[in-house]
């Protein structure tokens, strides 16, 4: 990471931001939410807080604009430059600007949020069926008032769920009319207008009067973009007009004719040849959340990073499940420090537990958090049975006996690096070594031998008969038998024999459980099995779950993600993983560490 020259940073942690105007591409609620989430990316890993204000001077002023928009650093039309921001300081410093010649979306195409109707503001569902016909854009069919609408489920005919699409006939943004709709025709400068116009403005924003006469009433608002609005060209925001004529030919859809770059475009009047009015058709657009999170990094004092995966890398790329890269975390924590709960001063009784979505402490080494006092063994609630001998379990007619693994697995693909995996199907400790399972392969890590990550090994070689993807595994501490779970099936490997697959209903786990996400050994002969937001206690000897289960995970495992993908015991502590991160919990049920599976447990470089 890089910071700006002189380590420019804010001298206070409670920052304010104000959204000066909104892009017509998205509903303002969607934009507000995206900015809020983008700030949260940074507040999750620092003591910084962000508060939106609606008047006056905020630390970070946010605006949309195009071309030259007042700061001497013009944007360049569609694509190319997307946004820029200034490092911390007074005045324009800290401000973030977004190029409104881009199509702003959430990264995967138009987001058409509805108003009114009966769908509580849900997004349009494209395509949708109305009277047997399929539509991929808002329509005015079925109405006499010209208001565009869409269904919010796949079939209006079946579900009758609908809402109205953005339209100047429904509302306006900004201006001085409190969102009133346009009035057509309206008079401006002596001329009558029947549609939104950019006349009278230098910033290309489309506007209309909200009374019949602007010259007289001076009431106006900005027009929201319809879903058919073009981007860029010389008609930004105007809807495509179909059919249109181009070089004498008629076109009823967007076309790439006339261009070498393959981009789709349309005319915004019925005849391009005579009017030369055009723009690009909507594409996936750029995620306002991702771009804002990047720009706010600048607003906080981060310069561009040369780490490709980092948010602060200067090029845009869309990622669906965004997670802040460690490089970004190190950068921002270099400037502002860590979350209070990462520090030794953190007192959970005062500040509360970290939220499950919170990101880890990886900074100056203060991140390990308060260590527990002497470990307390997990209490067992019932007398424990004596151990059974390995392989003593009987085989039923549905069980197959197959050879068990050899003692020393042979790496099948040493080049396949565990460190490139983003997450694992299952993680568990077997014979004192952590095992990381993923797509038919597994790696081992021994804390005793300090030999680093070993593998990748083949699951099929080690435990023949298992599916490539397993959900969870655990080793019974008494018998050393290893239980594997995949879907609603489980297998038990003991010595050279395997029992299974059998359904988990045989363990007494009902249909309310989907996949088993992990297991925690609890004393002798008892294991907690996790699924969804519940857990069951398994009596390993009798292979049945105890009465009184399932119980809610949140009841005692407070502060860990309830949608953990892996749950396992390691070095006497409970580990709950979600995405790239793990939450470590002491036997006293205190979360004492949140970190990266890859960097903190696997010790990846």
């Amino acid at each position: 990471f890089l910071t700006f020259e002189g380590d420019l940073k804010w001298d206070h942690m409670d920052l304010t931001y104000r959204v000066m105007n909104y892009s017509p591409d998205l509903d303002r609620a969607v934009i507000d939410d995206a900015f809020k989430r983008a700030f949260k990316v940074w507040s999750d890993v620092t003591p910084l807080t962000f508060t939106q204000i609606y008047s006056g001077e905020a630390d970070i002023m946010i605006m949309f604009g195009s071309r030259e928009h007042g700061d001497g650093y013009p944007f360049d039309g569609k694509d190319g430059l997307l946004a820029h921001a200034f490092p911390p300081g007074r005045g324009i410093q800290g401000d973030a600007h977004f190029d409104d010649d881009e199509l702003w979306t959430l990264g995967t195409g138009l987001v058409v949020k509805t108003r009114h109707g009966n769908a509580n503001g849900a997004d349009c569902h494209f395509p949708f069926v109305f009277e047997g016909r399929s539509y991929s854009q808002c329509i005015t069919e079925g109405r006499t008032d010209g208001l565009p609408w869409c269904a919010t489920t796949a079939s209006y005919d079946r579900d009758k769920k609908y809402g109205f699409c953005p339209s100047e006939l429904l509302y306006t943004n900004g201006g001085n009319s409190d969102g009133a709709p346009c009035v057509f025709p309206f008079v401006f400068d002596g001329t009558s207008y029947n549609a939104c116009t950019t006349d009278g403005r230098s910033d290309s924003y489309r506007w209309c009067a909200t009374t019949a006469n602007f010259d007289q009433d001076k009431k106006y608002g900005f027009c929201p973009n319809r879903d058919t609005a073009v981007i860029g060209g010389n008609s930004q925001g105007d809807p495509c007009v179909f059919p249109f004529t181009f070089l004498g030919q008629s076109y009823s859809a967007c076309t790439s004719q006339g261009r070498q770059d393959g981009k789709l475009w349309c005319a915004t009047t019925s005849n391009y040849d005579t009017d030369k009015k055009w723009g690009f058709c909507p594409d996936r657009g750029y995620s306002i959340f991702l771009v804002a999170a990047h720009e706010f990094g600048h607003s906080l004092g981060l310069d561009h990073s040369s780490v490709r995966e980092a948010l602060m890398y200067p090029m845009y790329s869309y990622v669906q499940d965004f997670q802040l890269d460690p490089d970004d975390v190190r950068g921002i924590q270099y400037l502002y420090g860590e979350q209070p709960w990462c520090s030794q001063e953190w007192d959970p009784m005062v500040l509360g537990w970290p939220q499950p979505h919170a990101l880890p402490c990886i900074g100056s080494g203060r991140g390990s958090g308060p260590e527990p006092t002497a470990p307390v063994p997990a209490p067992t609630e019932e007398p424990q049975p004596l151990p059974t001998e390995a392989g003593s379990t009987s085989t039923t007619e549905e069980e197959e006996e197959t050879p068990a693994p050899t003692a020393e697995p042979i790496p099948v693909d040493p080049s396949r690096d565990a460190c490139v995996e983003n997450n694992f199907d299952a993680i568990t400790e077997i014979n004192g070594e952590l095992h990381f399972f993923k797509d038919g392969k597994y790696w081992t890590l021994s804390s005793f031998w300090d030999s680093g990550i070993q593998g990748a090994f083949s699951i099929a070689d080690a435990w023949p008969g298992l599916p490539a993807v397993i959900d969870a595994a655990f080793q019974d501490v008494l018998t050393k038998r290893v239980f594997f779970f995949a879907g609603r099936q489980f297998w038990v490997f003991s010595g050279k024999s395997v029992l299974g697959p059998r359904g988990i209903e045989k363990l007494g786990i009902g249909k309310e459980a989907g996949r088993i996400s992990g297991a925690l050994q609890r004393g002798r002969g008892k294991v907690l099995l996790f699924s969804g937001e519940s857990y069951w206690r398994l009596d390993v000897k009798v292979q049945r779950v105890d009465k009184g289960y399932p119980r809610a995970t949140d009841d005692i495992f407070t502060g860990v993600p309830l949608d953990a993908h892996n749950v396992f015991l390691y070095q006497d502590k409970y580990h709950f993983c979600r995405g790239s991160f793990y939450w470590r919990m002491t036997p006293r049920y205190q979360v004492d560490r949140v970190g990266y599976v890859k960097y903190d447990i696997l010790q990846c470089p």
Binding site: L81, H84, Q257, G258, K276, H298, H304, P314, M315
Partner: protein, 89 residues
């Protein structure tokens, strides 16, 4: 369908990015994002200053440092990005 005649290419009015050669694109990109300065470009030979700036840019953006205006470098220059300079203020 196959085109029966060569496609006509038109110049669309109002389109800002038009007609820049690869070299012109590279020069404006390197200048805009801080990899070279107008003074540097004036004082050294064009080829040397371009190669030096390209290496600087390729290193910063994690590309192979060829010092050449290769396809990957051009692709990076055409990619959508943040307007804050990569080097300098």
């Amino acid at each position: 369908p196959l085109q029966s005649k060569p496609q006509a290419v038109v110049t669309f009015p109002g389109e800002l990015v038009s007609g820049l050669s690869d070299l012109e694109l590279a020069e404006s990109y390197l200048l805009r994002f801080g990899y070279t300065t107008a003074a540097e470009a004036r004082t050294s030979s064009k080829h040397v200053s371009l190669a030096k700036a390209l290496r600087k840019m390729q290193k910063q953006l994690g590309l192979e440092e060829t010092g050449e205006l290769d396809a990957r470098t051009l692709e990076a220059m055409r990619a959508p990005r943040c307007g804050v300079p990569d080097v300098g203020t």
